[in-house]
Amino acid sequence: MTNTKPYTKAQSTTLLRLANEAGQAIPPAWPLAATVAVNPFLGQAQEPLATASARLARATGETATMDRSWYLKKLTSGAVTDSDIQAAIAATPVSNKEFSVEEVKRSLAETIPQETAVPTVADLAAHVSGIDWPAIIAERITAWAGSFFDEGQAFWSVPSNKSVYASWRSYAIHDLTSEILGLDGFATHMLEAPDQARDMILRSSHALGIRQNEASSYYHQLLMMLGGWGQYGRYQLWQANLSGGEDDIMLDLLAIRIAWENALLAQYESEISASWEDARTRHSAKLTPSKDQEVEAIIQEACERAEQRRLSALIGHAPADKNEKNDRPNLQLALCIDVRSEVYRRAIESLDPGIETLGFAGFFGLTLSHKRFASDVEELRLPVLLNPALSSVSGSSSDTDNDNAERYKERATRAWGRFKLAAVSTFAFVESASPIYLPKLIRDAFALKSDEPIKDPAPQLVDALPEKDAIDAAETILRAMSLTDNFGRLVVLAGHGATVENNPHESALQCGACGGYSGEANARLLAQLLNNKDVRSALVERGITVPSDTLFLGALHNTTNDSVQIFQDGHAAPQDGAAIRQAQAWFDQAGKLTRTERSFRFPGTHSDDDVRARSHDWAQVRPEWGLAGCSAFIAAPRERTAGSDFSGRSFLHNYNWRDDKDFSVLELIMTAPVVVGSWISLQYFGSVTAPDIFGAGNKLLHNVMGGIGVLEGNTGPMRAGLPWQSVHDGETLMHDPLRLTVCIEAPCEAMTDILERHESVRALFDNRWLHLIALNESGQMASRYVGDLEWEPFATHDEPGDGDDGGSEEKDLIATP
């Protein structure tokens, strides 16, 4: 062993700190029962793309950018111009290297060698022994972790009363598999291992000869090797941190993986010690992007600038406001900012000038912990960055009997399910009851099911808000929506959800702002709050006058079939009937228009009925495209974007900075919806650019693990991220991996001020994980945030020489054919 001296106390402390930091560098993955998009580069927000790409390549052999052929296609199609590249070179933080446009283009045409990860001990052992140790380790860890984290697939799971590391250890002590496959004495090795994960990490690191300058990179790599298990662990840490606690789970997971390295080195040391020394040296090398990685980061930026050029033609050029501020809308429809709403908003606005739409985060400002009807499960219907402030349940005391009846029914169904799957009784089940699967097969194969509306009774807060809090909440939310005057006759607040069949990733299609659940409970509660007479009269004193005949109703927009279900919840009076019927008629028409538009994005789908049918088809792996294609986030009054076709690729947030006196709403937008938008955009980005690492793989092979995730096939690590079918239609990518362009109509100084106060948000913009562009008075793109709290005028490079302040060198280059 390389180290002979034991680690000093200071060294140990440092190594454990690095281990913790390595854990922080792993993105969290929420369980599939309620999953949300996560930025896979969450731990790399402090560094630019090229560096993150180099880090990923070192750990996994994959880069964070696209194949060169994809970029070349963008170039040859003319979508990306030389001036885009020029601007990108100027903007991309490149270390000690100067690139020219020609160099970038030439370099892109070269074939480059596949990146190689630094080998682990397992890789080296596999090389010399011919036994695929990395795969065996992945298989063994899944065999244990699947049971440990199981939420209810198996009857006989691993007790979860131990720490992750202790549970693993107890498993490994009994498991004979690794010894049968050739790792001698592994059970004994684990029996003699320290009780505590941190001691195991230190002991193994010492045995492996890990020095401080190697540890960070090596630990990160080992945690990345765990795939979805590492990310699921990071999720548990995230939840612990959110509620103010701590969790050592990442140390536990690292201890498990490093234990294998330790055992394998002990067995193969004589053959691999030299190559392991080399590997460690690579870990200690300073992380600098290669020229190839920098070129890719430049062309990536250029593609995004090309997209911004396209976008600039769409905003701020709308015809003058057709609906004068003073004309009272018949219907105001507030939808989630989700890009899928954009198509629907355009459709419904086209039906009648008296329809106005708004975009707002779909949890409608209410951070709910909600129990649905006849359920004990607390569903956190809120952005995952936040803690719940309110508890709600479906139904009131008058629904108790129904609630119990429903529970008995569900429990009987559950008991039947256990009968079906238990030892011995499974035979009785088959011999007595399986013929009922004959009609079930026919029903599912021919989709003989109808749309089921949500039947949960109106949600109620468990503890009613004190009057002042209720008024404060109403005011805050209305101001955040920029909805403070000119209220319509009917205001429909529509959360959104998705109905799909037989899809493990169903919750990824639900509302991300509602924690991967549908958003109707939040919308219905907000409607209840805003219909409250006392709240309304108190709002008048705060400068918000809601006309007495304005009615708020909650609703649910189903993004798979584009139906809208209105919840009257006892708010509507007889005289509201006509307005509601009219709204429903508009919803039906808008749904048809939206489905027709969406049908063009599905190969072989020709009508709105075909689109509707996808939501009931148990074999359909692409029931809808979700947020695929998302590329822009626009916070501005709707007038700036109305009339333009954003093809369902833009988040549209209503925001009127003139009404935002202290810029508190702007601050909220930049720190919450924008951050959520970055998570979504970057999840798609990672699932497309590094699908083997950050994507969930092939849906046709998915094997649901423990109700929380999927395996691709029979073994390997759990897979987080988006399935390939969610971003690709079989022939073409449905999501261009472009980092989100955030356009906000607000003074630059106000935004600078906010960035200055929110370091983590600033990092996203400074390192170009997000682009920030300020819109001017007329909604046109005017200034670009260039990092370090600096702005420059936005230039579209429409014609040569129109570039931003480029020196003579730049002009020369642009002139080059």
């Binding site: 599939l32 190689t116 080998p119 890789d123 596999a126 090389h127 011919g130 140790w133 795969a135 699947g146 049971s147 199981d150 939420e151 209810g152 697939q153 198996a154 009857f155 799971s157 004979l176 049968i180 496959l181 190559s275 080399d278 006849a374 359920s375 004990d376 499960v377 119990n404 569900e410 009987a412 559950r414 008991a415 238990a422 030892a423 011995v424 009784s425 499974t426 035979f427 009785a428 088959v430 011999e431 007595s432 013929p435 699967y437 194969a445 069949e501 493990p504 169903e506 190969p603 072989g604 074999a619 359909q620 792996v621 092979l701 649901v704 109700g707 395996l711 096939g713 029979n714 079989g730």
Partner: protein, 522 residues
Amino acid sequence: MLTHVLVAIVPLILIASGVMGVRSSMRRSDIPGYAANAGLGAAFAALLATLAFALGQPEPNAVAGSSGLRAIIQVDIVSISMLLLVNFVGAIVLRYARTYLDGEARQDSFMGWVSLTLASVSILVVSANLIVFVIAWIATSVFLHQLLLFYPQRIAARRAAFKKFVFARAGDAALIGAAVLLWSTYNTIDISTINAAARLGEADTKITIAAILFALAAILKSAQFPTHSWLTEIMDTPTPTSALLHAGVVNGGGFLLIRFADVLLLSPGTMAFIAMIGGFTALFGSVVMLTQPAVKTSLAWSTVAQMGFLIMQCGLALFPLALLHIIAHSLYKAHAFLASGGAVQRIANTRRPGPVAIANLRTVTLSFLLAITIYGLLAFGFGLTKEAPQSIALGAILIFGIAYLLTQGLAEEAPKPLTRRLVAYSIAASLSYVLLHKGAIWLTHDVLPITPAPGALEWVLMIMAVLSFAFVAFAQAMFPLWAYHPAAAGMRVHVSNGLYVNALLDRIMKSWRSSSKSITQQ
């Protein structure tokens, strides 16, 4: 003859669309649509054949030297019901695959290989002579192999397919050996003639060896312990393959035993052997299943268990019930695999209505007594007591399963309405079992041999089976009270790894050879 013609149409349709599929290499062509419709067409033809069979004159028992289609196609309740089952499931699988694989580069060939596999299973189940039977048997696994390697670059797919390949070839050899022995003994290749002769004849060494070889072929085809592990590893191919495999192909072993029932009955030792193997596999598979956290893996272990039960039924000479088991299990398992994507929501839903009521020893005992009472009443009511002891023993085993349903309803914390519901379910399930059982015997009485009176060996086997199933059922009902005890932790690890049978096989087969990917040093 009409029935024969209709039966012949079924595989012809599938072969036509299958050949079209495997020859095509276009993405998003019209072929998946054709193949799905061909699947429906084949199922419809099978349905017409069933109707023609049901409404037509009973076929005379085949005689030696039957010619034309009759020499190739055997029409009886066993072949017709299997044909209908296979093509019903096949039509569902093809329809599913048409949508599911949309956009896959090799969807056409997937549809093609599924169609060809279905065609060969269809031929297998209706084949009237040994040669067709053997060819269809081999063709089934050869075509299936193409589906197992639909993603040939996947190492895990190759690993599982290789195991399956080795066992399938061993099974083919056993089947060919048995066929040759039968041919040379009876001087005919006609299966009904062989069975008729066996029914009247005496055993000799050749017949005994043939029976043993059949048993081996069935064990290998139907994933019996210790050759089961290929089945639990085949996941690295699109889900419809699993549905087809678990609902169509893996039954082949059980079908073989049913088809050659008369031959097997000449070798009571072989029957006892497969009863033991089957019974052990059933208990082994169903206990391992309890520990599996991944949905498809759990379903695959469930199939191992169910195939064990099927083989045990054959070993106990309960052939009509074995046929019923094949049909019932296939319908269930096809649906379970195709719907396995819903596992996330199903698991989430089980958590909603509150905790599961846990039963104590008293409740479990009471449930068992109650279940036995229900069974006793039904048995007297429907005259089951006159049946063979093997059948009564099997009924007892199943009733231990019903007891688990009752246990959940009778648990102390279970509210009254839940208790009422679950008692009603238990009675309905018991009644349903009795009726299906009666129906199966009634439908097959002139084709399948009756269960012979048990000898001493059979009695020992039955008692062992009843006791061991009772033990596992009881342990299962008491589950939460002991399964998380530290003393059980080691056992759980061994069970969840299938007692390391697969690991040993992996070691022997060198399944985990690392790929030739070299480790480049920078």
